[in-house]
């Protein structure tokens, strides 16, 4: 199966989840999902900066805001699949695991990886976002109009 068959959208989703996942959480899930396959590096993990951009007025001309740390790497499994890891922060092991999962998601272990790593990450992220949104909702102001006396 190649990437076109997998679908770019599906791959964007798992790569995003892997990038945003807490490193320790991904490590625990990945370890429990079976043995890590042997691989050759196409690009050894490196940490760098990505310049974030915003827009004037939120919707206008782009401007540079400042950088964030990102670690990236690329590798090839013995079976031929190429995996890319682009993750937030400076954790090289995190980038390596992200690239391994990305590669495995394109091969015969895809459904096992989806069940053992991707879906648990998606659920954990959704739960933590829901929890924060619920706290925000509790601070929403309910206005009420004071009844004015008529005498």
């Amino acid at each position: 199966m190649n990437v076109t068959e997998v679908g770019i959208e599906a791959r964007q989703r798992w790569m995003g989840l892997l990038a945003r996942a807490p490193s320790a959480r991904l490590a625990a899930l990945f370890e429990a999902a079976g043995e890590a396959p042997a691989h050759d590096w196409l690009r050894v993990p490196e940490t760098g900066g990505v310049m974030l951009r915003g827009r004037a007025g939120g919707t206008g001309a782009a401007f540079n805001m400042g950088e964030m740390t990102v670690t990236r790497c690329a590798l090839r499994l013995e079976s031929g699949e190429v995996g890319h890891g682009y993750v937030q922060g400076r954790d090289k092991a995190h980038a390596e695991r992200a690239a391994l999962v990305d590669a495995l998601m394109q091969g015969p272990r895809a459904s096992a990886m989806r069940a053992a790593v991707i879906e648990p990450l998606a659920e954990a992220e959704a739960a933590s976002r829901r929890e924060r949104a619920a706290k925000a909702a509790a601070t929403k102001v309910e206005f009420f109009t004071m009844v004015r006396g008529e005498d």
Partner: protein, 361 residues
């Protein structure tokens, strides 16, 4: 005579060792962990990320610990580290319309769609010291409500629908980057916004305050203030498509300012804009006010000579690392410079005394 002087290594080593000991403080008191700083001093961490111009909470926490809580020193450490990072690329402009808001308020519309969501704010507290925090207690638990599903609509979009506010010209031009090219004046708005978002909070606040007090007044309302998480997307050339590479918390402020109009154009409100790393609302509001003041020329306003209208004055003095570098260097040895001044003053005095003597005779 010029005499080169060397020395002080032993004294410098001893000073740095003492610094390390003082940084640790009383060893009977437990040492601070980076996680404690990141979690419990989070607004200091946010300021260091914003002005250090690098989003990485763990590094900002380390810098604060190393700097003994001196935030400008911490920002200096982050700026120095930043220069060692290879630049991987740039993100797509972040979509603040899709922000998952922790806080979102409007000072202009009570019934703003999406509501007034206060979030974890200091507003409406009484600013009385809470002595309960001096003792260790159970971790507090926040209330919860029914989460909102839809993304929060932008206030200026409502105004814009009726043409009541000036439109923001959408552009995809590559913005200038002051970390790559030296500053040039006149600066365009993207360059000004980059300088302001990494500028010193105190300086930007002071400039904003000066406009409120009448030095370049522009009657701002906080149309909208939102704080929350946005995803960061980047195009990956080797893949040929965009992926999300992480998530950052930002504070965005849009001000609605005094209107203008003419015989040909109907009256319209104008805008100021602030967007800053982290939960940093004082800075974001200040940025919006100063952004608006600096737009006097494009909006056809009069230059009243206010400091906040002078972009070279504002941008050249907003960076606290440049400022502190130049300011603090004067405490370092200037023995030779001073020696020459001393010689000069002595010579002038000798000359003056000589001519006074002549006049008396």
């Amino acid at each position: 005579m010029y005499v080169a002087v060397k020395g002080g290594e032993r004294a410098i080593d001893a000073a740095h060792e003492w610094l390390a000991e003082e940084r640790r403080g009383d060893p009977k008191v437990p040492e601070l962990s980076l996680a404690q700083i990141r979690e419990q001093m989070s607004l200091a961490v946010n300021r260091v990320m914003a002005e250090g111009s690098l989003y990485d909470p763990d590094l900002a926490a380390l810098a604060i610990k190393q700097a003994r809580g001196d935030l400008i020193e911490a920002i200096f450490l982050i700026r120095a580290y930043r220069t060692t990072l290879p630049r991987i690329g740039h993100s797509r402009p972040v979509e603040t319309s899709d922000m998952r808001c922790d806080r979102r308020i409007s000072a202009t519309f009570k019934d703003a769609p999406g509501g007034q969501v206060l979030g974890p704010t200091f507003d409406y507290t009484h600013r009385l010291l809470d002595f309960e925090l001096a003792a260790e207690g159970a971790a507090p638990v926040a209330q919860t409500g029914e989460p909102q599903q839809a993304s929060t609509p932008r206030i200026t979009d409502f105004l814009n629908r009726d043409g009541l506010i000036q439109d923001e010209a959408h552009g995809d031009a590559t913005p200038p980057d002051m970390t790559r090219q030296p500053m040039e004046y006149p600066a365009d708005r993207p360059l000004r916004l980059q300088a302001l978002t990494r500028g010193d909070e105190g300086f930007v606040l002071g400039m904003a305050y000066s406009t409120q007090r009448g030095y370049g007044r522009n009657h701002p309302f906080v149309g909208e203030l939102r704080i929350g998480a946005v995803e960061v997307e980047m195009e990956i050339p080797e893949l040929g498509f965009d992926i999300c590479i992480g998530e950052v918390t930002l504070t965005e402020c849009e001000t609605v300012n005094q209107f203008m109009g003419s015989k040909t154009e109907p009256a319209q409100f104008t805008r100021g804009y602030g967007l800053v790393f982290g939960q940093t609302e004082r800075k974001a509001i200040s940025m919006a006010l100063v952004d608006r003041a600096l737009r006097w020329q494009e909006l056809g306003e009069e230059n009243v000579g206010a400091p906040a209208q002078d972009e070279e004055f504002v941008l050249a003095h907003s960076d606290n690392i440049q400022a502190t570098g130049f300011l603090e260097h004067i405490k370092l040895p200037h023995y030779v410079d001073f020696q020459s001044e001393l010689e000069l003053v002595r010579k002038m005095r000798r000359g003056a005394q000589g001519s006074m003597k002549e006049a008396a005779e």
